[in-house]
Amino acid sequence: MISGSWFERQKNIIDYSLQSLLRRRSKNILILIIFILLVFAVSAILFITGSLTKEMMITSNDLPDITVQRILGGRQVNIPASFIPEIEKIPGVEAVETRVWGYFYLASLQANFTIYGMDLTLLEDGEYRKIVNWKNIPDQAENQSLSSRPDFRMIIGQGVFELLKDIQMEKAYLFYQPSWEKPIPFDIIGTFKTETELQSNDLMVLQTEGARRVLELPPDEFTDLVVYVPNPEEIENIALKIRRYFPALRTVTRAQIQNTYASVFGWKSAFVLSSLLVAILAFLILIWDKASGLSPDEKREIGILKAIGWDTDVVLSVKFWEGFILSGIASLAGILLAYAYIYWLRAPGLREIFIGWSTIYPSFQLIPDVDPKFLLLIVTISVVPYLAVTVFPAWKAAITDPDVIMRNIG
């Protein structure tokens, strides 16, 4: 008999494998659907974890080198201005800046908001101007012009803005405590753009003096200090020195914050994966059961192929291609679906688990970030075990005499 080329042989084997998959289409479609769901679930979790971690890493690059807080009785308290010149004296410190921030519970919305105090004129110039949608608000506050009450202006996140729109609050008469005589009105002069939503969604940035009023912060005290160190190699050293010289102070470096983000998302990812573990396990058992048990028909087919002269390695090649095609399609489809779910649909259902504790969830766009290591991991945990469960029973049948399989002896 004249034999064809190696290439033609492989083509024939792949053709036969495809035919074989189609002949058992109901069983294979069931496996395919389960498989796609499985790959989709794992990929979605890995994608969202990777994407959030990356986004946090990028945005946290703008964080100060060292944040300094004062601890009293195990909790954070305001820090007096007297610490500033002392910290500035430490060699390697470029600048020490003050921060005013806190949380304000708005009873009408039953939500906590982050209040941040700063000089808003800094946002009106240069690079930062681009992150705000500036509004021209007509003067409404007690007939005073905007410029005449500059301490009571604020810029708010998109989430806050949407909530205020819902309750039709044009003017932010939000800030009120029962101990105050009257509410403190603020003019909204802009909203943060959606690109910054992960950080700014529930944020209200107030002019420093206004923030002090709302947060009831005494003069010459700040919430915390931030320290800038030009040499990144020195950051840890300087943080150590601050803690040594001033035992009442706590330092948090940018690297520590980044590590915390990474571990928080890693922990959440592990938590969600663990929650899905039972479902994943059930899927795996089902796939194992469907794929590994050769039906009497499949056994008979292997017997026939062997009986008409097919070698064991050719039979195994057929089974290999069957498994590879099915698990490959499932992996690809699962990964693509997960990609669409996370990056186009913005992970409804899963996002809430991963993002924040606030009543306002950010609706930011997740930045596509597919780590090749994730893809390798997904392929490894899907294609390889599936190939094993399909090829191994076929090998067992293929090494048995065809006579024994077809006559069912032994």
């Binding site: 008999m1 004249i2 034999s3 064809g4 080329s5 190696w6 290439f7 033609e8 042989r9 492989q10 024939n12 084997i13 053709d15 036969y16 035919q19 002949r23 058992r24 028909d297 008979r300 087919e301 017997g303 026939i304 192929l305 009986a307 008409i308 002269g309 097919w310 070698d311 064991t312 050719v314 005499d401 065809p402 006579d403 024994v404 077809m406 006559r407 002896i409 032994g410």
Partner: protein, 227 residues
């Protein structure tokens, strides 16, 4: 003088050796078959005919003894070489036809050519000749499970002949056929013999083993060739 094409020397086949369900299917079977002859192995059910045919057809290896095909001691060959020998020299028609139900007539017939790397076009060409010869051309794309018993039998014969093997082995080919289809089968077998094919058939059907075209009959009983 005729050439010896098949020879078995004291062939024994034991299934499940050493186990409680051990069974000796063939015991010290020896026979010789000449090229171009039509030979029948007859005997009652369980006499070992099918097992001996399987050993000659490289479907199983003997526990003891030698099977020699075209001068080659195939029972000692590694699987790959034995399979190559089988593909090149032997066509096998199984008792229950052993066709793959979900596949078409054409796909079943060309199955032995797939691992050979023969192109679909060439496979089709070879199969078409056999489809014409066995009056199956109109069933070319039919699934074999939709065919009648006689048609399935002819598909099985066509598949056995697709690799142009010189030896055709048929296990109880009339077992599932009525007398008319058995007569048709004998016509085909006779034609194959006329074309120089060596044919070995197992059967306990007198219509087969008493047919005038049969050159030689071996009788088996309790796993042994008794005449």
């Amino acid at each position: 003088m005729s050439n010896l094409i098949i020879e078995t020397i004291n062939v024994t086949k034991t299934y499940n050796p050493g186990k409680p369900n051990e069974a000796i299917a063939v015991k010290d079977a020896s026979l010789q078959i000449n090229e171009g002859s039509l030979v029948v192995l007859k005997g009652p059910s369980g006499s070992g005919k099918t097992t001996l045919l399987s050993l000659i057809g490289c479907q199983a290896k003997p526990t003891r003894g030698e099977v020699i095909i075209r001068g080659k001691r195939i029972s000692k060959l590694p699987e790959k070489f034995m399979n190559r020998h089988k593909r090149n020299h032997i066509g096998f028609i199984f008792q229950h036809f052993q066709l793959i139900g979900g596949m078409s007539v054409l796909d079943n017939i060309v199955l032995p050519l797939i691992p050979e790397g023969i192109s679909p076009k060439e496979r089709s060409k070879r199969a078409d000749r056999l489809l014409e010869r066995f009056d199956l051309a109109h069933r070319r794309q039919f699934k074999v499970s939709y065919l009648s018993g006689g048609e399935q039998q002819r598909v099985a014969i066509a598949r056995a002949l697709i690799n142009n093997a010189g030896i055709l082995l048929a296990d109880e080919p009339s077992a599932h056929l009525d007398s008319r289809l058995t007569s048709d089968l004998l016509v085909y077998i006779n034609q194959l013999k006329q074309s120089g094919q060596t044919i070995l058939i197992t059967s306990h059907d007198p219509i087969i083993y008493q047919h005038p075209a049969v050159d030689q009959v071996f009788e088996m009983k309790d796993g042994q060739v008794i005449s």
